[in-house]
Symmetry: C2
Subunit: 359 residues, 2 copies
Amino acid sequence: MSGGVHKETHNRATFAGDTAGDAYGTHRAIEPPGALPQPAWRLDNDFTRIFPGEVLLAVETLNIDAASFTQMEKEGDPATIVLRTVAERGKQHNPVTGSGGMLLGQVVQVAPRGRPPGEVLGPGDRVATLVSLSLTPLRIDRVRAVRPASAQMDVDGEAVLFASGAYARLPADLPERLALAALDVAGAAPQVARLVKPGAVVVILGAGGKSGILCAAEARRRGGPGACIVGLEASPRAADELRALGLCDAVVAADARDPVAVRTVVLGATGGREADVTFSCVNVTDAELGAILATRDRGVVYFFAMSTSFTKAALGAEGVGKDVDLFIGNGYARGHADHTLTMLRDMPAIRALFEKRYG
Amino acid sequence: MSGGVHKETHNRATFAGDTAGDAYGTHRAIEPPGALPQPAWRLDNDFTRIFPGEVLLAVETLNIDAASFTQMEKEGDPATIVLRTVAERGKQHNPVTGSGGMLLGQVVQVAPRGRPPGEVLGPGDRVATLVSLSLTPLRIDRVRAVRPASAQMDVDGEAVLFASGAYARLPADLPERLALAALDVAGAAPQVARLVKPGAVVVILGAGGKSGILCAAEARRRGGPGACIVGLEASPRAADELRALGLCDAVVAADARDPVAVRTVVLGATGGREADVTFSCVNVTDAELGAILATRDRGVVYFFAMSTSFTKAALGAEGVGKDVDLFIGNGYARGHADHTLTMLRDMPAIRALFEKRYG
């Protein structure tokens, strides 16, 4: 349990209202000055003052991006590495993977100017940020707990959300950690809903993971009973859990980094049909070609995996002469938070599995 | 002048017909063995024998990927670096940018088995490869000339094309170097043709470069007189040349790495309208956010630039809350070579400019 945050321990910041602050947060970039906060190397995390448009949050839990957490576990102790990164950069922006995550916190203070008109947000409200930690000014005072299974850390600290930064109020009817885990991949299911047509052949790499399961559920809902949904999952345990959900026509095992093996198991499961749409939700590198080779000409390959390489995907498709549309997964889609939380309410088996894993 | 290649100087290879050879070239991967040739670190460039499906080429000219050539010019002498890379990796696969290019050569030998049925290709035919050098086994014996303006190098050497590898026969009615330069970006215009609708607002970053000009021409053709086409070009000379072509409604200057500046000049040129489709054809890093900020909600951002970062694009869009479709540029599209060569024939002003620059 993250415990309650005591608002009174967070000092009220001075409002730097006479200083320029923009909706994107360029005023917080230190290195280089004036950059957008995501590409910037280092952000200003001095929260003794806040700028127009900002919301100051008392941070309770960080939900680290899965690719980033895996990388840090290989390098050493994730808590130590997060503290070092935040000290150096003023944000949890993994310099190796380039990815971040999101956070759960409580509103300490809202700038008196620059917030969206009509917004109702005030001190004490509990929110999850829907923008990456890689662009969120953050200070960590202490790491209180690390939960590797969910890639979450409970911390004491503060963060700032800019006027352009999306957030979700935590729902009253779902456990907070469950909501946080689902919101971290809120962009996945809405994109699936846009791309999967009734009767489609759909392949999901890393289908037993968090975003993979949401993709499979949405693909089944949109594709209907005539769709053929194939989930690839290398972990036997995750594969069994996925099978038990009854979303996929086939759950198969293959190393996503072996393109020929991926193609072979997919064709075996679909009766020789290539995918209309393939979603890559893996956390390993070198999975681009497997996704491409599994997909039909003029089909779609949608890469949610932050471990995806732009050049490997682009040159890989060209190299094998596949005329497919290659998408960079956009973590934001209109209404994505509501969409994903509603899935948890409508699909009790997924909710139960996520509570077991990430709750 | 590349001069004639003397077929008799290339020894006939032994046909390794009893050895497995697949259409994708996994049989040429040395490190790791059995990998696809694009992700492989090192390829087998021993051309004393060829495998089923292979075509052995006498290489005349390499057309290096623009992002790769720029990187090598910054590092040192491109010819030296290319020789080193090919010696180490058995292919011209720039280890920093991950990109390659393509080549022009003459067929020395066609494997007696494993080629596509009905193909008419024989010794002496002159072809340009339409697959990346990053997956093409290559041996270079000598660099004869380097032409920085077109990122081309004339070399003596040999290469192999796999059965899955696309190529184009060099057209009789166009100069070879012009054809090679255009074929290097053959994927660009066909993708524009798919995405630009009549009357669209189209933004092209790096519009004065090779792929940028082809994108602008195709956007004008598809978008019609009601379209608003804005070209961003930082080089004054390239901007003037682009203006003279009369393809764009506005040619504006901005540093593509400054997202706020890009957005400002775009909105200034369109009367405040965000782009329906933005194409990024730049050769610099950190141009992802400029393209995203210039584009409307539910619009499309298509990244042709090999210098694009997957995570910067994905997290950048999420960070500024832009619900846009982000595409990884696929260098291959059905019929792309014919499409692009036909543009040069139909558009004499572009042909003349390309001949001046790259001929």
